[in-house]
């Protein structure tokens, strides 16, 4: 429980991460309540993507802990994070280019599939049942994000905005409890952005998924997030509701530049 009386899903405590001599994150702490939409903002190179990479175990911080669902991890492992229900999308789309939309999204169900390879080679009984059962769920997500028409198309041929949507779809297919979105609207036009905002809010509403997102478009951030964290040079400089953050002097300085 945190101060607002809501259950805490994720707690990041005193994380420090550096590559060689470059300090990417220093002593960053924050928590995410269950069902919340949290935005991480900050200038380029502030350590936002690194923060997501620490949460899902891709980077291992030099110090600090990540507490997820009440369990503390000195280091999260990526596949553990995935198994525990953390899914994410990437700043530069990370779809599997040689596969169709449907197959890409089906990979999101991989962790939930159990049937061993001998049954799969026969494609009988349990293997077939399992495949169909998961296909059903995937179709549900496909309907939800309105991408029925591109099911069988190799993702490499889709336009950029669509690829972003397929990536979100793949993340959702794993039924995540925590969804990390790295600039979900980068490079989109206004219309696509509106669609994406709607999907994010719908996901949060209907599935109750907790969302942590990185975004540069301030209008979007202020509209859809419950809370905003501001990073600058790897440090957290503000944490609060959109209105509080907007009024924060340190944030204004970081964005507008301050003569020292």
């Amino acid at each position: 429980m945190n101060s607002n009386g809501k259950e805490t899903l994720l707690q990041v405590d005193d994380i420090t991460l550096s590559f060689g001599g470059v300090q990417a994150l220093s002593h960053v702490s924050f928590d995410v309540a269950k069902g919340e939409v949290l935005a991480i903002i900050g200038p380029n190179g502030a350590g936002k993507s690194s923060m997501l990479n620490v949460i899902n175990g891709f980077y291992h911080p030099q110090s600090g802990t990540v507490t997820y669902k009440g369990r503390s991890h000195r280091q999260m492992r990526t596949h553990e994070a995935a198994a525990e229900g953390i899914a994410r999308t990437f700043q530069n789309i990370a779809l599997f280019k040689g596969m169709t939309t449907l197959d890409n999204i089906m990979t999101g169900r991989n962790l939930k599939m159990r049937v061993n390879f001998l049954w799969q080679a026969l494609h009988l009984g349990p293997a077939r049942r399992e495949e169909i059962e998961h296909r059903r769920y995937v179709e549900h997500v496909i309907d939800f994000l309105e991408i029925q028409a591109i099911r069988k198309i190799p993702v490499g041929r889709l336009p950029y905005g669509m690829q972003k949507r397929v990536e979100l779809c793949r993340a959702l297919a794993s039924e995540p409890d925590l969804l990390l979105l790295d600039e979900p609207m980068a490079g989109m036009n206004v219309e696509e952005k509106e669609d994406m905002c709607r999907f994010i809010l719908d996901v949060n509403d209907e599935f109750g998924t907790t969302i942590v997102l990185i975004e540069h478009d301030m209008g979007v951030v202020m509209d859809i997030s419950d809370r905003v964290i501001v990073l600058d040079y790897g440090r957290k400089i503000a944490d609060g509701t959109p209105d509080e953050v907007r009024a924060n002097q340190a944030v204004i300085d970081a964005y507008l530049g301050l003569s020292h």
Binding site: F58, H79, A82, L95, F96, M99, T107, N110, Q120, H123
Partner: protein, 358 residues
């Protein structure tokens, strides 16, 4: 018109996920299998079976094996010959030690041993990728070839250093050895190929195939989704080596009759690699097409000059062959990385509309 799928509505996910969702494909494949099983044995003579069809079937199996590893899982291997040798020599050891054991079962056991060897040499794939891994698989190729050559136990201390297929019956029919007819060996090889090709197709369209392709296309993203790289890659190495092992066993026991390690040298590894590049990386059908092409070209090169009255020396034929294969590889990588398999798809697309192009 011919390939028009209009009117074929799929009402269940099951129908949609079938191997051949389009009815025409189903009939075509069925017809091909029927021809292969019934018509070919009636028509083909000893030469065609021995020189063309049996090696085609065996190399198809090896090519499917390598394609699972390289085309689907994205792990380049130059050790195919080595893994095939494991299958061949293990079959020889097991069947000479237990003569009453069904030879087809022995093939499977040997394949499993090849799979284990594949796992050992696949372990470096955790840390290394791409051509680094290719070099590591060269270690498998050279070490295995040396092992079977130097350690006499593997060829039962036979002074000639070769292994020979002993006569073995299955259900009262002679399957291997000098008395086995080419037709029988052809049918056995065909049956094994059809079974294993089907199994491979099933694997690649399910969870395992998707995780292989995910690792191939973007390993980091795959890992973050929860696909663990090491077990996934090792499974690819194991299954691929199993296929190659069985193919190697078939090579000695259903085709050549006897051989030494030279039959599995690095050139075999390259040959199989060429098959999947020319046929199509990441395609089961492509493996078959590539194997057919690579088996046909030398035969064509040997026979074509004779037809027009020119005599060509074997050495010259070999060199032309290697130029043709090499040039084809470069050509396909540039123009159509999906190989013959893609040509087939394009043809089908055209046939959908033919003869009314608009």
């Amino acid at each position: 018109m011919i390939y028009l799928e209009a009117g074929q509505y799929k009402t269940t996910y099951e129908d949609d996920q079938a191997i051949f969702p389009i009815a025409q494909d189903r009939y075509l494949v069925l017809a091909a299998v029927l021809v292969a099983f019934v018509a070919v044995p009636l028509v083909a003579n000893e030469y065609w079976l021995q020189a063309l069809l049996i090696p085609f079937l065996i190399f198809s199996l090896a090519a499917i094996g390598l394609n699972l590893l390289t085309g689907y899982a994205g792990q380049l291997s130059l050790g195919t010959g080595g893994f095939m040798a494991v299958g061949a020599y293990m079959t020889y050891k097991i069947t000479t030690a237990f003569p009453e054991l069904n030879i087809l079962l022995v093939f499977i056991f040997s394949g499993l041993i090849a799979a284990a060897v594949g796992i050992v040499f696949g372990l470096p794939s955790l840390r290394i990728k791409g051509f680094y891994l290719a070099v590591a698989t060269l270690a498998a190729q050279f070490f295995i070839q040396w092992l079977f050559n130097k350690v006499a136990w593997f060829y039962n201390y036979n002074p000639s250093g070769t292994i020979t297929a002993p006569p073995r019956e299955v259900f009262g029919v002679m399957v291997t050895g000098p008395e086995a007819t080419a037709t029988v060996r052809y049918l056995v090889a065909l049956s094994l190929l059809v079974l294993f090709a089907l199994a491979a197709k099933n694997l690649v369209r399910g969870r395992i195939g998707r995780s292989w392709m995910a690792i191939r296309d973007m390993d980091i993203a795959a890992e973050i989704i929860g696909i663990r790289p090491l077990p996934t890659k090792l499974l690819a190495f194991a299954i691929s080596s199993f296929y190659c092992g069985v193919a190697g066993a078939m090579m000695i026991f259903l085709w050549l009759g006897s051989a030494e390690t030279l039959a599995f040298d690095i050139n075999v590894s390259f040959q199989v690699l060429f098959m999947i590049i020319i046929g199509g990386l990441g395609s089961i059908l492509g493996s078959l097409l590539g194997a057919a092409f690579i088996t046909l070209v030398p035969i064509f090169l040997i026979n074509a000059p004779a037809l027009v009255g020119v005599h060509m020396e074997v050495a010259l034929e070999r060199h032309i062959e290697s130029i043709v294969f090499g040039a084809m590889i470069v050509y396909f990588l540039i123009v159509e990385p999906n190989g013959f398999a893609r040509f087939w798809q394009i043809t089908k697309q055209k046939l959908r509309r033919w003869p009314f192009p608009y």
